[in-house]
């Protein structure tokens, strides 16, 4: 029944959080009709409709966003996040279950009564943004949203400055956003905290560990996955794409093998709840919320496409011949509907990034 309960809770919460029809309500976010807030588990939400998907952890420590959508939607995303913060903080229930002493339970957390009799605490600032890649649909809101956030640290005391939210990303994201050392985006949109190597642990935030893991050469060479370990939610970024075939940014170091390896790596992390359903939830870069079984289907698709292109290349076919061979026709109805990232472009990206001699 836990799965049913979670599903019902999602449905109920979604109904209360999604945009309503009719005249605008007081305080309603302008343009928010395009956005959809999907509660996932615990403090973690998925925001869709702003370009790339956004994951949001909202709670007593503040707000952490994984990606910020497109530039055009930045103000709308910010206002939607603000609205969501107020709703979360005003809820009569603690945002996280309060079990044991290590989760940081405070005296009021165990009471459902007190928060309803006093004013809810003010939302905490947007403290951090994590970018899963350098793609415009994922970093477009960085400048606006980071500037509206706040990082607390020594510098606040020394010069009384108001630092915006951290922007965390793999170092290759910073490199790609500043080709030849010249930033291609506003300075406020650039990562302020980069990491290299396999992972970066962001300590506990809103009562749970947050771990950023690098996925080498997948959608690009700067891909990161963010794991909210308590809520057990993975924000995967663009190498997991449920809207269309994954965009492989060859110029920025992406590769089909990285996409396949990344999907298998996520499958190593995920745990199902029961009968290959539920459990770890994954926010893809685009498209709907998924779980392990959905990710396995996706892994199958990218693996099969890689195998087919590799085999036909091994048989001596050219790129153009492979593109005309119809090898994606079984998956095109589901993943080949994007007008710009066509099956032919996907095949080309596979063809160009397959290891030589494979």
């Amino acid at each position: 029944m836990r799965g049913l309960g979670a599903f019902a809770l999602v449905a109920l919460a979604t109904a209360s959080l999604t945009a309503q029809s009719g005249p605008p309500a007081p305080g309603r976010v302008e343009g928010a009709e395009a956005l959809r807030v999907i509660p996932i588990r615990g403090n973690v939400f998925m925001i869709t409709g702003a370009g790339g998907n956004i994951a949001a952890s909202i709670g007593r420590d503040g707000t952490m966003l994984v990606d910020t959508g497109s530039t055009a939607m930045a103000e709308t995303v910010l206002q939607t996040v603000r609205d969501l913060e107020r709703r979360v903080m005003a809820t009569g229930l603690p945002p996280r279950g309060c079990v044991g002493v290590s989760a940081g339970c405070t005296w009021w957390s165990s009471s459902n009564f007190l928060p309803s009799t006093v004013a809810p605490p003010a939302p905490r600032p947007i403290a951090a943004i994590v970018n899963t890649s350098a793609s415009a649909e994922h970093i477009g809101g960085n400048a606006v949203i980071a500037s509206a956030g706040r990082t607390f640290g020594v510098r606040n005391l020394l010069d009384r400055s108001q630092l915006g939210a951290w922007i965390v990303a793999h170092e290759n994201v910073a490199t790609r956003l500043s080709p030849k050392g010249v930033p291609s985006v506003p300075a406020a949109a650039l990562p302020s905290e980069v990491y290299f190597g396999d992972e970066k642990k962001l300590n506990f935030f809103n009562g749970e560990a947050v771990v950023v893991t690098h996925i080498p050469r997948a959608h690009s060479d700067g891909d990161s996955v963010v794991h909210f370990r308590g809520s057990d939610v993975l924000a995967a970024g663009d190498f997991v794409n449920m809207a269309h075939y994954p965009v492989i940014d060859v110029e920025r170091g992406g590769s089909i093998q990285g996409v396949v390896d990344g999907a298998n790596k996520l499958l190593d992390i995920t745990v199902v709840e029961h009968m290959m359903e539920g459990g770890t939830m994954i926010v893809p870069g685009h498209g709907r919320l998924i779980d392990t079984a959905d990710l396995a289907y996706y892994r199958d698709m990218v693996t099969i496409m890689r195998d087919r292109v590799r085999e036909l290349r091994r048989r001596g076919m050219s790129l153009e011949q492979i593109q005309r061979a119809g090898i994606t026709r079984d998956y095109d109805p589901r993943f080949g509907r994007d007008a710009t990232w066509t099956p032919a472009r996907f095949i080309e990206a596979i063809f160009r990034t397959l290891p030589t001699g494979s």
Partner: protein, 297 residues
């Protein structure tokens, strides 16, 4: 005379349960009838309205994929499980105050939670998670319960690679006549079906049936990590078996809309199986070539 007619009418009305009062809760055992064998051969998609993409998807399917860890503990989904061989339990969820039925909960041996809500709730947005059971709401259609199901996972409609997408929707009807429950499923899939797939099955009320638990954890079954078994397009070697069995010429499909109708029978030639000489015998088909382990073949 008018008074007599009115009296008869009142008796008839009183004798029939009013709409929304048919009770589907209880334990039911499947009646194995009609075309419901569901132990298909590879390539036997006869009767399924698969479109070109659906057929291509099915032809690339390799049964070895079921050995992958992510496939081992899967349940049967909403579009298929009602035709399964196991007992069905339907529980009803009743609001303690109004005593209205809020939901029915059907379950089988190998199913997940599949609630059918009657409380008027809306379906979740498209971006929400999908499940094997999908998200079902229902309304009364006379004495029948009409169920609309969305948010299903991609899943099979026959256990040999015939798939529907995660954009498929199902309309179901539950019809009870005494101790018989008729379950009609109409599957609509804009991606892999050319026409709706309409099937039905029946159950009989059974006070002794049991629905056991289905604990399952995945194990290593011999496939190397990262291998996804499949066939290259047009190179599934096992599709010939079904043609031999049915006497189906090479230029005729083994699935798709045209295989749903009686005219399709005229395309079949006598075979050892259709003549009844090879039914159930392994030697009725050519021996399959040995399979290399894993990967595309």
């Amino acid at each position: 005379m008018p008074r007599t007619v009115l009296l008869v009418a009142l008796v008839l009305v009183a004798a029939r349960p009013a709409a929304a009062q048919v009770d589907f809760s209880g334990e039911w055992t499947p009646i194995r009838s009609m075309d419901n064998t569901e132990n298909p051969w590879v390539g036997d998609w006869v009767g399924l309205p698969l479109n070109a993409a659906g057929l291509a998807r099915a032809e690339g399917w390799d049964a070895s994929i079921l050995s992958l860890p992510e496939y081992q503990c899967r349940p049967h989904g909403w579009a298929y499980i009602y035709r399964g061989p196991t007992a069905l339990r339907i529980s009803k969820e009743v609001d303690p105050f109004s005593r209205q039925v809020l939901a029915y909960h059907p379950e089988w041996h190998q199913s997940t939670n599949m609630p059918v809500y009657l409380d008027g709730r809306e379906h979740p947005p498209a971006e929400s998670a999908h499940t094997w059971g999908g998200f079902s709401t229902a309304r009364w259609d006379g004495d029948m319960l009409r169920i609309n199901t969305t948010h299903m996972k991609e899943d099979y409609i026959r256990r040999n690679g015939a798939m529907i997408s995660d954009e498929a929707k199902v309309t179901s009807w539950w019809i009870r006549r005494g101790d018989i429950l008729t379950w009609i499923n109409v599957v609509h899939d804009p991606l892999y079906l050319a026409e709706p797939l309409i099937r039905a099955t029946e159950y009989r009320l059974n006070v002794n049936s049991l629905v056991p638990a289905h604990p399952c954890t995945a194990v290593y079954e011999g496939l190397d990590k990262g291998v996804v078994p499949h066939f290259m397009p047009g190179e599934n070697k096992f599709l010939g078996d079904i043609r031999t069995r049915y006497g189906l010429p090479l230029n005729r499909p083994t699935g798709g809309p045209e295989t749903m109708y009686p005219e399709f029978l005229r395309q079949l030639r006598p075979s050892t199986w259709t003549l009844g000489k090879g039914a159930g015998r392994d030697d009725a088909i050519p021996a399959a070539p040995p399979q290399p382990p894993g990967g595309a073949r």
